[in-house]
Symmetry: C2
Subunit: 137 residues, 2 copies
DNA sequence: ATCTTATACTACAACCATGTAGTATTTATC
DNA sequence: GATAAATACTACATGGTTGTAGTATAAGAT
């Protein structure tokens, strides 16, 4: 599906935080658990805060916690907060106008798959993501 | 779905050529019909030739024609000839290992959609793409 | 007030996809 | 053989994503 690395990180981080949704997480804990770049994660967390998904607590014993309840955060909210989600919903061949009346070569074949992709991202919330023992973050 | 521009171009060009599969097409004709960059298309055509999908005819009255019959060219062949298709089939969160036993956060939700995407690209050939009067290339 | 430990900001580097420019090569026609 | 019309090749430019480095700022603990 080719989500950007940043979007993948965002989903992984928030999934991890959603396991205990009221805990305050520091970047150093997230970095050690998810094994990703420290500096890059910090920037990402700032962006997720600005997007209103989480809130930051500065200073000693600071960190990040959810600003909205995980059951109100949809995958599209996460992805949309770090990149333009439209690139995943527009015409698969890149046309700005593509419809049943004036379709691209793949329009009819692709229509059904596209709606499944969109439905999933629009309907799945953070709290609906299964947390099972063997799950990786 | 976020195919690369190059992959989108490739599908559009070959869809256009498939309408009259035995005709020799010059880059200038394709450029004028599909309205894309002349130089970039030329490089793309060279790559599609090297990939074995089309063959080039140099010199005067030259151009490009199909090397394989359009009904033997699957979408995955086209995309795979210009970029690494695995990025569309791997784990949606980017893990190199992701399975039912050791899944990522989205694994179970995504599984079904992923198989629909893969099925489509693996099963649809150029000749199966509908050519209707209002279709755009 | 000062120290410590967090996040916030800004600048820069590396890489890849995309696109442009110019030259070289090939081959049918004359 | 010379010309014309096509593809092939090489180098460079641009922009976005990803990642790194260093400094600034905030706020609790003492």
């Amino acid at each position: 599906m080719n989500l950007s690395n940043t979007a993948q990180y965002a989903i992984r981080v928030l999934s991890y935080m959603a396991v205990n949704e009221s805990v305050i997480y520091t970047t150093s804990e997230i970095v050690s658990k998810l094994n990703l770049s420290d500096k890059y994660l910090k920037r990402l967390m700032t962006n997720l805060s600005k997007a209103g998904l989480i809130s930051s607590i500065q200073g000693r014993y600071g960190g990040y916690k959810f600003q909205k309840s995980p059951d109100t955060i949809f995958l599209i909210d996460i992805i949309g907060s770090v990149e333009n989600f439209e690139k995943y919903e527009g015409c698969v061949l890149g046309f700005s106008m593509c419809s049943d009346e004036n379709p691209c070569a793949l329009h009819h074949k692709w229509e059904h798959v596209q709606s499944e992709i969109s439905d999933l991202f629009h309907s799945v919330t953070l709290s609906q993501i299964q947390t099972e023992p063997n799950m990786k973050f």
